[in-house]
Every structure is written in C-alpha cells, then in structure tokens.
C-alpha cells in the first residue's frame, strides 16, 4: 500500500518517525515534492483566502500526493502532546479542513488523533485505529511504533547536536556524515532563528533563509536544537502558561538563546495572520529589550517578495557584524 506524507506543517518534525513506522508495517512511503511555485498555487486556489500560508501550502502538498497515486494521505489530527497544552485549532481540525477543501482527497485521508503526553506521539492507542484499515495486528503495530520511536529519537539527537532538520534527515538516511557537514561550516556571528519548522524549513516560505544566512557567514541555531530540559527551566510554570506546544518552545528557546547561548541576534520568521505568533512574537520582542539583543521579525505570506527579505536579512547581519568588529577593534566609536 502506498502511504503519502505531505511535506508540510509538522512533517518537518516527525517525518523520520512516520517513515520508519509505515515502512516497518511494510508500506511504501511517498513524500510530496518540495514546495514550489506551482504546488503552492494549486493550494491557494482551493483554500479559503483568509487562512495562513502554511495551510495553503499543506493543501498544495495533498493535491501533489493525489497525483502520485497514493492509496492514503496520512493527516494526523494533532490535539496534544503534553499536559495542559494544545495545538493551533487548524492542526486540530486539519483532516476535516482538507476533507472539505479537496473533494478528491475525501476518501483517501488516513487520520488518527494524537493525544497524550508523549512528544514522540507513540502511545499505541493513538495509532490503533490504523490496524483495521491497514490490515495489521496490534502486535505488529506496537513493534513498528517502538522502532519508529527509537529512530525518531536518534533524529532528534542529531538536531540537538546542532544540525538543521534537513541535515539531521540526511544523517539518518546515511546520505551525509556529521563530519562532512561540519567541515563546510564557518561563521563569524551566531543568530537564533525562531519560527515553526514549517516556516523555517519550507524553502518557499523562508526563501531558503538558512543557506542565505550561512553564505553571509552566520551560524544558525533553532529551537529544535535545544534539549527539553534546557528550554523548560527558562519559564517555570506560571498561572498563565502558553498552551500551544510549539509556540511555547519558540518562546523558551528565545530565552535560552539570549541568556545562555549568547547569540548575537534573533530573527523571528512568522506567517502573516498567525494567531499564536502575534502573542509569542511580542513576548520575545519584550524579552529582547531586557537582554539587549537585536531582534527582527520577518512576516511572510504568499505575496512576499524575495528582494525585501534579502535586504532586511542583509542589513540585520551587517548591523551585527559591523558592531562586533568595531568592538573588537576596541573602538567605542
């Protein structure tokens, strides 16, 4: 059976898990193409105009998968992966959203509810509904989940060593070694790049911001490179907790970057119209004043021009580099 995984939204965080899981069950895993202009335009066409661009992109990927003759498109409903925390409503309603947007997808959506307190989502009860549909036994399912979880933790480990998600995936697939990647790196300054995985790693949304900044001599760190303990000790539970899991991670990691990793600056990449980000972005901005770190927000939608993004990023990097050099030369200037 061919299972399609849309290369969008939370895919960037869980791909190794799902790949390993479905392959362990003897399925063929088909991933949609890398986001392109054509793909996103197809998504925009079918989606309501007001929604954020990541959802439009997601629909584009579903359409792309349907053209690849998959039996199912896997669209889990992410409800919660930690106590008292939730996902953005669009994630909670994602399978329904796709069902009523893309007529041809209706019969081919493979969905389960992700609930519980495990970040690896691998509580077998979450996945049990798949047994009947995919004709596998509970025993097979549990075994596949165990292997998938291990594989995913290995992938997370690579991230926490400082590799980007793309790099971590390549190491997992044995396409590149850690040393091969590290030997190509050189940097003068470090910037904390904040944003959800589907904004940072989608080449269309972020306009390849990571390779662009690296070519300017910038070392990048992102939230998924931090360990859970490192993040959670930043913001002890308060009466008002940020109850969106990944928004909370972004906020906490911003603190770690400023307080402990001594980054030279922070850039927040956010999609126009993102509700949680309107709160989290402001909170980071306030923190950046306290810790005296340069902070810039890049807001993107489907109309964003690349030249604007480049000008801003270039100016931001220039600003930090010039300041650093003058300090190095001992000039108060």
């Amino acid at each position: 059976m061919r299972i399609g995984l849309p290369r969008a939204l939370i895919f960037y965080y869980y791909y190794p898990l799902w790949k390993s899981f479905f392959e362990n069950l003897g399925m063929d895993v088909v991933v949609s193409d890398v986001t392109s202009k054509e793909l996103i335009e197809k998504g925009i066409k079918v989606t309501v105009p007001e929604i954020c661009v990541p959802i439009k992109i997601f629909n584009g990927h579903v359409i792309n998968l349907l053209s690849k003759n998959v039996d199912y498109v896997f669209i889990p409903r992410f409800v919660s992966i930690d106590r008292g925390e939730w996902f953005c409503p669009k994630f909670i309603g994602l399978p329904d959203l796709v069902k009523y947007t893309i007529e041809e997808a209706k019969e081919r959506i493979l969905t389960i509810d992700i609930k519980g307190k495990r970040e690896d989502t691998c509580n077998w009860r979450n996945y049990r509904p798949l047994c009947n549909i995919l004709h596998v036994s509970e025993k097979q399912l549990k075994k596949a989940l165990k292997n998938a979880s291990e594989y995913w933790h290995q992938f997370r480990q690579y991230s926490m060593e400082g590799f980007t998600i793309e790099e971590a995936m390549q190491i997992c697939d044995n396409k590149l070694t850690r040393n091969q990647i590290l030997s190509q790196r050189s940097s003068e300054i470090t910037i904390g790049l904040l944003g959800y995985v589907y904004n940072i790693y989608d080449p269309f949304v972020s306009m390849d911001i990571i390779p662009k900044m690296r070519s300017m001599g910038v070392n990048i760190i992102t939230f998924e490179m931090l360990k859970e303990e490192e993040m959670s000790r930043q913001l002890p539970r308060k009466s008002k907790n940020i109850y969106w899991t990944f928004s909370k991670k972004i906020h906490q990691s911003a603190r770690v970057f400023m307080k402990e990793r001594n980054v030279d600056g922070l850039i927040h990449v956010t999609a126009f119209g993102c509700g949680p980000d309107s709160i989290v972005g402001k909170m980071i901005e306030l923190d950046s004043d306290v810790y005296q770190k340069p902070f810039m927000t890049i807001r993107v939608d489907e109309h964003t021009g690349e030249s604007h993004l480049i000008t801003r990023v270039e100016a931001f990097v220039d600003m930090i580099k010039r300041k650093k050099y003058s300090e190095k030369r001992g000039e108060i200037a």
Binding site: D33, S36, K37, E38, L39, P203, D208, E285, P294, R299, H303, S307, H308, I310, T311, R312, E314, A315, F316, D318, M319, R322, K323, S326, I332, A333
Partner: protein, 322 residues
C-alpha cells in the same frame, strides 16, 4: 585627487556621488530613474565624468545601493554592493556622528534606523504598504493639481488643522474629498496629508521603539518642508535635514566602498567611465527547469552574458562561474 563613487538606484530616483579621501562630497546628482535604471546610471556617469574633466583624479573605489544595486553594481564593476539600511546609516553617521534616529523616506519605501555610538542597533522598513512614502505624496499632489515642489511650502501656510485618515492611500483620498467639501483650503488639506503621512510612518515603523534625538530626516521626501514640520510636531523635537539629504544612500555606498578597499588593500574593480558607452541588455528568462518557474534576470554586456540571478537553485547563476 583620489575619488570614490557611490550610486543609489532607487525606484524613483538614481543618485550618484563622488567623494574624496576625506569623505567630502565633490560631486552629487539626483535624477529620476523613470523606470530605466541602466540609462539613468549611464547618464549619471557621463555627468560625473564631465564634472571631473580637466582635474587630475583617480577612481579608487565604487559602491552601489538601492533596489537596483545588483544591476548597477554589475554595470559599473562595484567593489561593494550594499543594502540601503547600511548605506544610509554610514552616510548619516559621517556627517552627524552623534545621530540617534534616522528617518528616511524614499519613493517607495521608508525606514527608521536607530543608532547608538555610531552603530546601527535597530531598524525597520515598511513592508507592503506605501502609505508612508513619497509615492503617496506624489499621488495626492497630482490629484490636487499642485506640483510636488510647492507642496511643502504650501503646507506651512495652513491656518487650521484638519485630520485626514492616512492609514491607506485609497481611504486618504476619499477622506480628502470629504474634507474639501467641508470647506477646508488646499493648504490645510496638504498640511493634514503631511501629518497623516508622519503619523502613519511613526505608527508603522516606530512602534515599540524608543526614539532619541538627534533626529536626522533624509531621502527624497526630506525636501518637503511640510513633512519636516509635521515630524517636529509629532515628536516634539527639532529634526535635522542634512545638506545632502537626497543622495545620502549614494554617499553611504561611496563611504563603504572606501572602507572596503582600504580594509583589504585592494584595487578597485570599477570598469571606468567607458561603461556609459557599453551596451548593457538585461532580459528576463522564465526558467522552466522545474515547478518553481523562477524569473531569472540575465545581463549581457556587449553581447556577452556577465551576470545572472533570481534562480532559486543556482542553475543559471552558477553557469557563469569557472
């Protein structure tokens, strides 16, 4: 005399300057781009060459900035190609070393730059909205039938205040019509427009930033006395308009070029004034190598391709190397 050339190719104007070793401006020119960046750069170079005629000089460096910086940089063989923020800040700090806040309003974009100890520490740029830029004024001046050059002075003659909704050029226009029907004079309406532009600018770009004096106001719109006055009213402090307010980006590009060649002790890559006679042809190719359908910009010099950019994958950009 050793000189450094700076060229700022913007959406509305193309500015060229030459500075000497001391950073003094020896030549400056502000012309309208009129959608023809190549022609305007050539024209600037011709005028500069003529202005230098008879004087012994040597071009030691060249830099470009502005939205057309890439194209202009390739044309003239610039030593550096810099973004507008860095260029503007470099020029302002050169003339006003104690500056803390720079207001820059150009034809289609506007920026605010915060400086501390001569260094840029923060900035913001307008995103998709042009309501706080020169184009907004140009458009309204045309509607009122008043040449843009007289706009500022007229605003200063207003006797009464009128509040115009300046959040958006489209709504500002309907609001202006309403206020005209209420019987406000042209001068008052124009003053209202200046206030609206500044309010918009400060709200959009200055939001969340603490603005400290000295304030320096530059860019093409700084010629407008009405806007300067509106800024002073809005922030309650004197605003300095520098002598070379409309070519500051170009000066910055020249200063940065000078800094660059001095730092690395290199010889300039400036192609020389003959560039004005060269045949540059930029063309756009719709690449159909993949689903991204990138618009690739290709520049030919005398029939030979010298630069390509705009492709996501580097297929074209890299094809010229090696």
């Amino acid at each position: 005399m050793n000189i450094y050339i700076g060229i700022d190719v913007g959406s509305v104007s193309t500015n060229a300057v030459a500075i000497n070793e001391d950073g003094d401006v020896v030549f400056e020119q502000y012309i309208r781009t009129n959608g023809q960046p190549i022609e305007s750069v050539k024209e600037s170079l011709k005028t500069l060459e003529k202005a230098l005629e008879g004087k012994p000089y040597k071009v030691k460096g060249a830099g470009t900035t502005g939205s057309g910086r890439q194209l202009a940089g390739i044309m003239i063989g610039a030593d550096i190609i810099k973004n507008e923020i860095t260029a503007h800040a470099a020029a302002t700090v050169h003339f006003h070393p104690d500056v803390r806040t720079i207001f820059e309003i150009g034809g289609q974009d506007s920026k605010i730059i915060i400086i501390k100890d001569k260094m840029v520490v923060d900035f913001s740029m307008n995103t998709v909205c042009a309501a706080g830029t020169g184009s907004f004024l140009d458009h309204q001046a045309e509607r009122l039938g008043i040449p843009i050059q007289e706009f500022g002075d007229l605003a200063l003659t207003a006797k009464k205040n009128v509040r115009i909704a300046g959040r958006c050029t489209v709504f500002a226009e309907s609001d202006m019509i309403a206020k005209q029907q209420y019987g406000f004079s042209k001068a008052e309406i124009i003053k209202g427009l200046c206030d609206a532009l500044v309010r918009n600018y400060i709200n959009n770009l200055g939001r969340g930033k603490s603005l400290h004096p000295p304030f320096v106001f530059q860019g093409g719109v700084a010629a407008n006395k009405g806007i300067k006055a509106a800024f002073e009213r809005e922030i309650g402090h004197e605003v300095i308009v520098p002598k070379y307010y409309n070519v500051m980006g170009a000066i910055g590009a020249a200063l940065l070029a000078k800094e660059h060649v001095e730092k690395y002790g290199m010889k300039t890559s400036f192609r020389g004034f003959d560039v004005a006679e060269y045949n540059f042809t930029p063309t756009t190719i719709d690449c159909n190598g993949c689903a991204n359908s990138c618009e690739v910009i290709k520049v030919d010099l005398n029939g030979k391709t010298v630069a390509m950019w705009g492709d996501k994958c580097g297929r074209w950009a890299n094809s010229l190397m090696g």
